[in-house]
């Protein structure tokens, strides 16, 4: 069993960090995992994305043409990745940052206003965790508690104060289901 997830958004939306949280959780669950960022010049002011591959066996390619899941945190990411998702896969869209609905009908789509949800919790920057929570609620990748444990175990001491908020964000995102 292998699952590939692309997390994409503007630089500053925490896409790379969200991928790392997912990777930590996978590692702690005893899975094989790779995390690879796009590190080209487009990172400066443009889109930032990372690919996380989670598997039960030695992982081959750390990147994929047709990922099983995509978290699109903004419109350019939706435009870029919608067509690439493997049939039957899952697309989580940050409704706060797009002005259209996905067109694919052969994938599961989760739409949620991640920015607004995060703002309600107390910090718009937790939108990445809201998105991640929605992904795990809609796809059998890892138990949701695995992410919560990873946040607790792998957040630096000086940032521990944000862990509770991030866990709340995961749970709120987890309330959304694919339409």
């Amino acid at each position: 069993m292998q699952t590939e997830v692309i997390i994409s958004g503007f630089g500053g939306q925490g896409t790379l960090y969200a991928g790392q949280v997912l990777a930590y959780a996978a590692m702690d669950e005893g899975k094989q995992v790779t995390w690879i960022p796009s590190y080209g010049p487009e990172m400066r002011g443009g889109t930032a994305n990372c690919t996380v591959v989670i598997s039960d066996e030695e992982i081959g390619s750390p990147t994929v043409k047709h990922p099983k899941a995509v978290l699109a945190l903004n419109l350019p990411s939706l435009d870029k990745y919608e067509d690439m998702i493997a049939p039957g896969g899952c697309l989580v869209v940050n409704e706060s940052m797009v002005n259209r609905k996905p067109e694919r009908t052969d994938i599961r789509v989760v739409m949620l206003p991640a920015n607004e949800i995060a703002r309600e919790i107390g910090n718009e920057r937790a939108a990445n965790m809201v998105m991640l929570g929605a992904l795990l609620a809609n796809m059998d990748i890892l138990p949701n508690e695995a992410l919560e444990k990873a946040l607790k175990n792998h957040t630096a001491q000086r940032l521990q104060k944000f862990v509770e908020m991030n866990i709340q964000a995961l749970r709120r995102g987890g309330e959304y289901r694919a339409s």
């Binding site: 790779t34 080209g40 390619s61 047709h66």
Partner: protein
Amino acid sequence: MALELIKGNVAVAEAAVRAGLVSYFGYPITPQTELLEYLSARMPELNRAFVQAESELGAINMVYGAACTGRRTMTSSSSPGVSLMQEGLSYISCTELPVVIVDVVRGGPGLGNIAPSQSDYNQATRGGGHGEYHQIVLAPASVQEAIDLTTLAFDLAEKYRSVVMVLMDGSLGQMMEPAELPPFQPIKTEIPDWAVRGIPGRGKHVLTSINIDPPAQERTNIRLMTRWQQVEANEVRYKGYYLEDAEYLVVGYGTAGRISLSAVRAAREKGIKVGLLRPISLAPFPFKVLSDLAEQVKALLVVEMNNGQMLEDVRLAVANRKPIAFYGRMGGMVPFADDVLQEIEALAAGPLSQEEHPRDRWLAKMRVEFGTGA
């Protein structure tokens, strides 16, 4: 096992520290910079030497000097920076000094770009500097392997008094994977006899790459070649996947090798009996195992992120006994497993001509698909 989620560049740096690295000299360049950046904090913390040189030329010559003392030293860079270091690497090789160098290859030629590439295979394995010398080249495909091979690199450098290059690429440098770091090795207190240490009263030690007298240079070269024969006999490393019943064989190293692994698995699911040989030591190259496999399989596919450089070594090993196909991407482009799968399917579908050079067939397809850029 205590696993850490760790980035390739940082993993290599920490592995070097744990191997007893005493001094590091380097100059920043993407996609290798995290390696240097990490050591800039880590080495002083341990009271060891870190110098950011004024250029790659400065760095490699500082490494040259440090290696003369017989203690563990290294540098790291990426393609254009490693080009600048070639003069120094030739001098170091002629002086028979143990040095570890990490090359996190990026797209080229020229200034190129910072994307992952394997375009420096020839430079690494043929000795990119002048004169006739060899260096050991190890090519990891994962963060764990990068750690293990960095540790090994220091041992091999000392064993053969040779330059050992860890040849990575940008994606491996930037990628995070769970990996286990080795325990700390104590810093070596036993200094080899040949080292220059300025001990008063002891006989003069000279370490030099100047052999003004040609017979002396020839004797040096004979010694270097003899040592390389030992390397070839003892230090070949590779990993095989699904080889037992393989009718077709993919050959790829590093990132191209692991991408090929995904494609090989997908092809197996479609019923194609294909295996993968992933060379780990590029120099010495695993000629023997490849030659044996050439007897077993019907045809081979070489996959690289370059214009077919290892391909020439594969052709040497196969010696025209079986058809070979080549698939490569260049300039910092990374193939997808789906693309490699298509190539495997084509390989299994048709008889392949042994007349044409595999590179010519590939290039003709590339021109059709991507144009010439003219």
